[in-house]
């Protein structure tokens, strides 16, 4: 593995971790598990429900990143990725980073997110009435879509980075690395719920650390945006102009 491949993979992991810092999927998993345990559902069934939900989010993330990479490869297969595409993605990352700082969480107590209240109520109601693993799976799929406004940034950046990997095999690795790192926070919460940790402790931790998560997610987006701008636009322009 050459250093350039390693750097690209590290950037893809960073994109995945930014994706993982967005909390809607974790909130819905907390609700889903809480309602299932509260209804005296057998613990194995609770695990099956939350596992199906986790699988749904992983599959949707995989589908989104694969489609985005395929689109990038299809559009830019001959010409390579143009500076304009990098500029758009850098603008998106910096804009979303600032938006994350400003309004990702609501000012109220708890972990209320930016979502329109009607959408939040719909997800809460769906989580409460989910009884079947297939329903939990589709809830996982729709939760990822509900947060598309924010995950569009890291997803777009990863979709431009993955085609830079040297071969199709490496590109598949890039897609898997993104999907796994994007599902990391959800996977950790699922393991905590499965190992018998109290949901209120998990929720309390999330509430106490929500400003840190908001700040770090937003800051990482802005940093990634500036880094890609310097690396892919300024550096490429300097090379084109013969300065370096």
């Amino acid at each position: 593995m050459n250093p350039e491949t390693l750097l690209t993979l590290a950037l893809i992991v960073a994109c995945g971790l930014i994706h993982a810092s967005y909390q809607l999927s974790v909130s819905v998993l907390t609700l889903l598990s809480g309602h299932a345990i509260g209804k005296k559902t057998h613990f194995k069934r609770v695990l099956r429900l939350s596992g199906s939900y986790l699988l749904g989010t992983i599959i949707m993330t995989l589908l989104l990143i694969t489609s985005a990479v395929y689109t990038t490869l299809h559009i830019f297969s001959h010409s390579g990725i143009p500076l304009l595409a990098w500029a758009i993605v850098c603008g998106l990352l910096i804009g979303l980073g600032i938006a994350t700082w400003v309004f990702y969480y609501r000012k109220s107590t708890g972990t209320s997110l930016w979502l329109p209240r009607s959408m939040a109520q719909f997800l809460t109601k769906r989580a409460k009435t989910t009884r079947d693993p297939a329903e939990a799976f589709s809830l996982g799929l729709s939760t990822v879509i509900a947060e598309i406004l924010f995950i569009a940034g890291p997803l777009a950046a990863a979709a431009l980075l993955i085609p830079l990997l040297p071969s199709t095999g490496w590109q598949l690795v890039g897609i898997l690395v993104y999907t796994l790192s994007a599902s990391l926070s959800l996977g950790i919460v699922w393991i905590l719920v499965g190992s018998g940790h109290s949901l209120s402790r998990i929720q309390l931790w999330r509430e106490k650390n929500k400003r840190f998560l908001q700040f770090s997610g937003g800051s990482l987006l802005v940093l990634l945006g500036f880094y890609l701008y310097t690396e892919k636009i300024l550096f490429a322009k300097a090379v084109l102009l013969g300065g370096i």
């Binding site: 809607l24 909130s27 819905v28 907390t30 609700l31 598990s33 809480g34 309602h35 345990i37 509260g38 209804k39 005296k40 109220s108 107590t109 708890g110 972990t111 209320s112 997110l113 979502l115 939040a120 997800l123 809460t124 018998g196 109290s198 949901l199 209120s200 402790r201 929720q203 309390l204 509430e207």
Partner: protein, 99 residues
Amino acid sequence: MSLFGQRTVIDIVKAGGTRPSEEFNADKLHSSIVAACLAVRTPEGQAEAIARDVCTATMAWCSTKPEVTSSDLRRIASRTLQTHHPDAAYLYKHHKLIV
């Protein structure tokens, strides 16, 4: 037949004002407290006992009022639950503020 064996004539004004008021139902309050306790892994018997205490205290508070809002009910119930089981009270109080 209600768990608490009495018909209470207190109207509960629903949050937001879009849904009509409904009569106070102690069993509904009891079930939600039990669910909150079970969600934080409280044994079933203990959850039932806590829910009974919370319902009794909440009904005593409500008894002097002709109508209360659902937010009042949640606030009073979670205040009483706090003394019995802080973890369950936290979840009960915040469950609408998770998403």
